[in-house]
Amino acid sequence: MLRIKPDQKQRVTVTVNGKAVSGYAEPRMLLTDFLRHELGMYGTHVGCEHGVCGACTAIIDGAATRSCLRYAVQCDGLEIQTVEGLADADGTLNTLQKAFNENGALQCGFCTAGILMSSTKFLQENPKPNDDEIRDMLSGHICRCTGYTQIVRAIRQASGQ
């Protein structure tokens, strides 16, 4: 059994976008804060911190889920995909990112990282979704700029429809 005292800093190793990285976390440190402040990966955004807005969504252990409702110490040894892993190393955007760009599916960009990660996993599970299915998936994200129509359009384009 693993027990970590409240003020004890535990070494946590995770594989982020294919690369093993480590940092230290006390039990109450959120995974979002661990990614940003320990690992210096600022792509994952922190919004509401109670699971409602969707900005912090990442693919954790194969599931698109909230990184603000996970503690870093829970994630030792897990694989995490974040928005930094989508584009090529030279900055070339992937199909989904290009579709967001071409359809005006982002404005301020705050919600975008989470939506991209949800959409990535969603399209793996459902490669040819209809608009209703896309909107159902998007209901787990709040965007205050675009009004969602362009986002739906971008996801459809990325799915080759």
């Binding site: 059994m1 693993l2 027990r3 970590i4 005292k5 409240p6 003020d7 535990q10 006390e26 039990p27 109450r28 959120l30 804060d33 911190e49 109670h50 699971g51 409602v52 969707g54 969504t57 599931a63 698109a64 889920t65 909230r66 603000c68 409702l69 996970r70 503690y71 110490v73 829970q74 949800s118 969603f122 159902d136 998936m137 209901s139 787990g140 994200h141």
Partner: protein, 292 residues
């Protein structure tokens, strides 16, 4: 928006988890998916001395199908449940309710047992379990006990679980013959907490009359409950009777009042959604008769 400092405990066995509950009692919070508890921890509405993470207890992620019931381990994820044909065909009301549970990003991690243990009055999984007259299995150092769902939920986020007990599984009655099921809710945004959720199980006799009906309400009072509908048994299973039942029950409920809705609005939702769901359950049952 950061939780209080707590000790993190990740037991490898149920026995270890129970030892921790004995040690910390009500100072411990048990986390499975953490989709509800995580929010409360971050807002410091819950301030535990210890967080007991049960995600390592693989034995609690099993499913056992019997003749009359299906037993789901507490750790089965909501999205995982939706991919289990035995569960979805065996418990059609659960299949109809699960798409309303949170969002895609919530169901991927949230668990069946966690939602029941958390006991939000508007949550879909507790309402489904209550409507079907299922049960909750709890384990403590002293042994196991099974509590009928209709007795388990005692109020807002309050259940019959003692501080030294762990919810280990749920028991779902398997669908009955000539019985229809329906579920519907209203929320501000699809996937948000329901302002009101309604569920129905109805058995229709060969002559088209109601043989049995269970009409469950969530988000109306401080816990999910089944309305008293015995007086309608024997009446025709029609849309008119469905409205009668919903209108009658709407007068008897004592709705919660919050920022989302006042009591009159919730009462109206009981009428409208209730009539719709009961009609759908009657039609579902009658359709099976015609197919048979």
């Amino acid at each position: 928006m950061k939780p209080v400092a707590f000790e993190y405990c990740r037991p490898d066995t149920v026995e270890e988890a129970l030892d921790l509950l004995k040690e910390f009692g009500s100072d411990a919070s048990i986390i499975s998916g953490g989709l509800s508890l995580g929010a409360m921890l971050n807002m410091r509405l819950v301030r535990p001395k210890a967080l007991i993470d049960i995600n390592g207890l693989g034995e609690l992620a099993d499913i056992k199908a019997g003749d009359a019931t299906i037993r789901t381990g507490t750790l089965i994820r909501q999205a995982g449940a939706m991919e289990m044909p035995v569960l979805m065909s065996g418990v059609p009301l659960l299949a109809k309710a699960l798409p309303y549970v949170g969002h895609y990003q919530i169901r991927s991690r949230g668990t069946l047992g966690g939602s029941v243990a958390h006991a939000d009055p508007s949550a879909e999984i507790p309402l489904t379990l209550v409507t079907l007259s299922g049960a909750v299995t709890l384990r403590s150092p002293g042994g196991s006990r099974e509590v009928p769902a209709r007795e388990f939920f005692q109020g807002l986020l309050t259940t019959d679980r003692r501080a030294d007990e762990l919810v280990t599984g749920l028991t779902w009655p398997i669908r009955r013959d000539l019985t229809g099921y329906a579920f519907e809710e209203l929320a501000q945004r699809h996937g948000d907490f329901a302002i009101t959720a309604v569920a129905a199980e109805a058995t229709v006799a060969g002559d088209g009359s109601i043989a049995d009906v269970s009409f469950g309400l969530g988000g109306v009072e401080d816990r999910p409950f089944v309305a008293t509908t015995a007086g309608f048994v024997g009446k025709p299973a029609t849309a008119a009777t469905a409205s009668d039942i919903a209108n009658t029950i709407a007068e008897t409920v004592d709705p919660m009042v919050d920022l989302q809705a006042n009591a009159d609005y919730r009462r109206q939702l009981v009428r409208v959604l209730g009539a719709r769901v009961l009609t759908a359950a009657f039609n579902d049952a009658t359709g099976q008769q015609e197919a048979a």
